[in-house]
């Protein structure tokens, strides 16, 4: 395996007295799609948020695309341009149009002119199939469309890595497919992705690796088939059984 593009080592994180991450190691290779699953409270979202320093680990190291995110000298805002993130609740800016959402960072962070930003923004919206919704505000979009605009906002900056935090959990079931389709395309284009999600069907079809977390630790990881059909650990078996029943 080539040098990993994401390399998190021995991450510990507390929220007050709560020990949320208990020494987690995660390496992700370029173009790899890693699924992180686990019960709520297992620390999977916190781990994801450590990968762009929305949460700062108490100890350990996080290196993404060669940049040590925890080093004092690191310009975190520059580093974050290379790390796209998509949230469960979309978090689109409600006071801007879809295009405005996508172009804000292009103009303010990437230093594009208004015209360049608009062209790139429209191209990004095109990739998620929503070029014709450029002038709509988030309130005028369905949940599925809103999440795709959120993906466009992230990929417009041409990140090296994409993080997805339960991207389909807030969606009505009939809208999930459109978001997964966009993620599948990103995958085909070779994007490195870390996805916290319980979309088992998608994980089976698209993931290179599934990581099972419980109680702030990685319990088990492997190919989707191995994790879903022949988990070694009792905790993994119990969890897989649970989500398959639903």
């Amino acid at each position: 395996m080539a040098a990993p593009i994401i390399e998190a080592r021995a991450i510990h994180k507390h929220f007050g007295a709560l020990h949320v991450l208990k020494g987690v190691d995660l390496q992700v290779a370029e173009r790899e799609l890693v699924f992180v699953i686990g019960p709520s409270g297992s620390g999977k979202s916190t781990l994801l948020r450590c990968l762009n320093r929305l949460e700062t680990p108490d100890s350990g190291s996080v290196v993404v695309d060669g940049i040590d995110l925890l080093a004092r000298a690191t310009d975190i805002n520059r580093a974050r341009q290379r790390i796209g993130m998509v949230f469960q609740s979309f978090n689109l800016y409600p006071h801007m149009t879809a295009l405005g959402n996508v172009t804000l960072a292009l103009r303010k962070v990437a230093g594009k002119t208004a015209a360049e930003a608009e062209a790139l923004g429209l191209a990004a919206l095109d990739r998620v199939g929503l070029r014709d919704r450029a002038g709509h505000t988030p309130g005028q979009l369905s949940g599925g469309q809103a999440q795709r605009v959120a993906i466009a906002r992230a990929i417009a900056l041409e990140p090296r890595v994409m993080l997805f935090d339960e991207p389909t959990s807030a969606l009505d079931p009939e809208l999930v497919g459109s978001v997964l389709a966009v993620m599948r395309e990103l995958r085909q284009d070779g994007m490195t992705m870390v996805v916290v999600s319980h979309e088992m069907g998608f994980a089976r079809a698209a993931a290179d690796r599934v990581v099972f977390m419980d109680d702030g630790q990685i319990v088990e990881q492997g190919a989707p088939a191995a994790i879903f059909e022949a988990p070694r650990e009792a905790r993994t078996r119990a969890f897989i059984g649970q989500i398959q029943r639903h």
Binding site: N52, L54, N77, R78, A79, R80, Q81, I83, G84, M85, F87, S89, N91, L92, Y93, P94, H95, L104, A105, K108, V109, A110, A150, R153, A154, L157
Partner: protein, 220 residues
């Protein structure tokens, strides 16, 4: 009755004086509203810092100037500061008093507005590489202001009305001019006209505010 309160001759004579007063009231409002907003913004942004070294003095400051009657503050600045050699003049005193007093009110409103924006908004903005300052300017503040617009307007209405306080420090604003005209003519007509001018000036704002509040009620 008509001769006492709606004396046409006196209205004609007093009109230029009152108009000059209206001009000064508008000028004063156009100065103290932005000043108050600026003071409020500074306070609201400082309130984001969680450090107790900022929080406690800030709370004391806001409490103090909200509890301090603006008229007393104004007279203190005007009549008290010259004793330490600070002659700020009527306009300077009004500007400072309003900066302190209305700034504290605007500050509380803006703070509530900023708190009303979900944290996910700033997380999304930061995740795209926007700095904390850019996130505040482009993502948080526009939403914060929109969320508390009725309160901001209501406070602004109060501020414009409070500019009449300037009359006690000889600021030639509308009320002061009306009092002058009244004492020159021995007739209350100028005061009545001044009241009508205030009404004409503020009523559209009051209407707009009601509509905003109704809309907020329906949306909320």
């Amino acid at each position: 009755m008509l001769d006492t309160f709606f004396n046409i001759e006196i209205m004609k004579a007093a009109w230029p004086i009152l108009l000059a007063g209206l001009g000064n009231t508008l000028l004063l409002s156009a100065t103290v509203v932005p000043l108050g907003l600026l003071g409020g913004l500074i306070l609201a942004l400082l309130a984001r810092l969680r450090s107790p070294w900022v929080r406690w003095p800030l709370m004391a400051w806001v409490d103090f100037f909200r509890a301090f009657p603006p008229l007393v503050l104004l007279i203190f600045l005007y009549a008290g500061l010259p004793f330490i050699g600070l002659e700020l003049g009527g306009f300077g005193c009004v500007a400072i008093a309003f900066f302190l007093n209305t700034g504290a009110y605007y500050g509380e409103i803006l703070r509530a507005g900023i708190d009303s924006v979900p944290t996910g908004q700033s997380e999304a903005a930061r995740s795209t590489g926007l700095s904390a300052t850019q996130t505040m300017a482009w993502v948080i503040l526009p939403q914060a202001v929109r969320n508390v617009l009725p309160d901001l307007m209501s406070n602004t209405l109060e501020v414009v009305k409070l500019t009449a306080l300037g009359s006690v420090v000889a600021m030639p604003e509308l009320l002061f001019q009306a009092r002058q005209a009244q004492s020159l003519t021995y007739n209350p007509t100028p005061i009545v006209v001044a009241a009508l001018i205030y009404f004409a000036l503020l009523w559209p704002l009051v209407r707009l505010l009601s509509r905003l509040e109704n809309r907020a009620l329906r949306a909320g």
